[in-house]
Amino acid sequence: MTSVTGPRSAAVHIGADDLRHPRHAAWARPLSCRDTVERLSRLCQAAGVRTQQALLGPDATTGRIRAAIAAAAAGIGPGGLLIVTFSGHSERPVPGEHDGGWCLHDAVLRHVETAALLAAAPASARVVVIADTCYAAACAAVFTGVPATTVVLAACAENQATLNYQHSEFITKLERLTYHGGRPNPDCRSYTWLRRELRKDTPDVERPDVRANHPAAMRQRPFRPAPRR
């Protein structure tokens, strides 16, 4: 297991599989949320993230998610690492209305709101967002304005959908490529490498993507805080 000392690291995992908003309540219950949260918690632990919070089902409310992200972003400090993961349904961007968002227990958390919450992280910090949902990469366009270096690992493009199975192929592949069995993969040295591997052998209709708000971030080793100066 890799130990991270110095900058603080934190993770907030969202598994929104109990939707009560009238618009969402009739939708199929997302099946992979619990498995995804479990896998990503394990991945973060292996990456040395000491502080983790999981908000699942009825706990994944807009209020609690906002509070959790805001507190984690403000708490990691300069050079810290914040990982936010989402598993569940998404609303697609609607031109002229909104940029899309994640469907939570009580309502949608728009990506623009999430960006504002992430903006509490210091500019020297690193933010990683893992979106295991439809239109997953849509948030990356909104997160370009986050001051901290922000990398989005998306299950698919902004104009693609993922299917609702018990396990997310994207997440199991991500875990295998980065911290398989809790041990870091020595080949996983950059987000560029990770992007290439995630996209390998995937159908055109659903292809994962990795996007960063600063091009240099693609050269960073995944899930690591900024080096100490």
């Binding site: 009739a26 939708w27 349904h89 031109p95 940029d99 104009n159 959908a161 159908p203």
Partner: protein, 130 residues
């Protein structure tokens, strides 16, 4: 492709997807013609497993055991079957439509839905030949 104007001013490609389900009663061979790289899944309840390698653009003969299969593609697709082959082929255009609408429920209930909020902007065409 139909460009989609986003609020921030950039455009993104349309959400284009055809989902095809194949209900195979007995082992059969189907010739699938697609225009992109396609993943064929064998569906069992709430789980699915990849069935074989990705199908490349062009025509591929696939040997199927009894069961339910789905694939999704960004282009038109053709499924060719022998005349008496016990395979039912269905274009599942409504599987992603969370606003309801006509859908062959007895078939669709066994199929996965998408984790998003709407149907594709464009649904390519499925042709079934026997």
């Amino acid at each position: 492709m139909h460009p989609r104007l986003m609020p921030s001013g950039w455009t993104a490609a349309a959400y284009t997807c055809l989902m095809v389900a194949l209900y195979v009663a007995e082992p059969a061979v189907a010739s699938l013609t697609v225009h992109d790289h396609v993943q064929l899944d064998r569906v069992a309840g709430i789980t699915a497993e990849r069935y074989g390698d990705l199908l490349p653009p062009g025509t591929t003969a696939v040997r199927l055991t009894a069961g339910t299969y789905v694939f999704r593609t960004t282009g038109d697709a053709q499924v060719q079957l022998g005349e008496d082959t016990p395979v039912h082929v269905l274009a599942v255009t409504q599987a992603n439509d969370k606003d309801g609408g006509p859908i062959e429920l007895s078939k669709a209930q066994a199929l996965p839905a998408a984790k998003g909020d709407g149907p594709p902007d464009h649904v390519p065409t499925l042709t079934v030949l026997r």
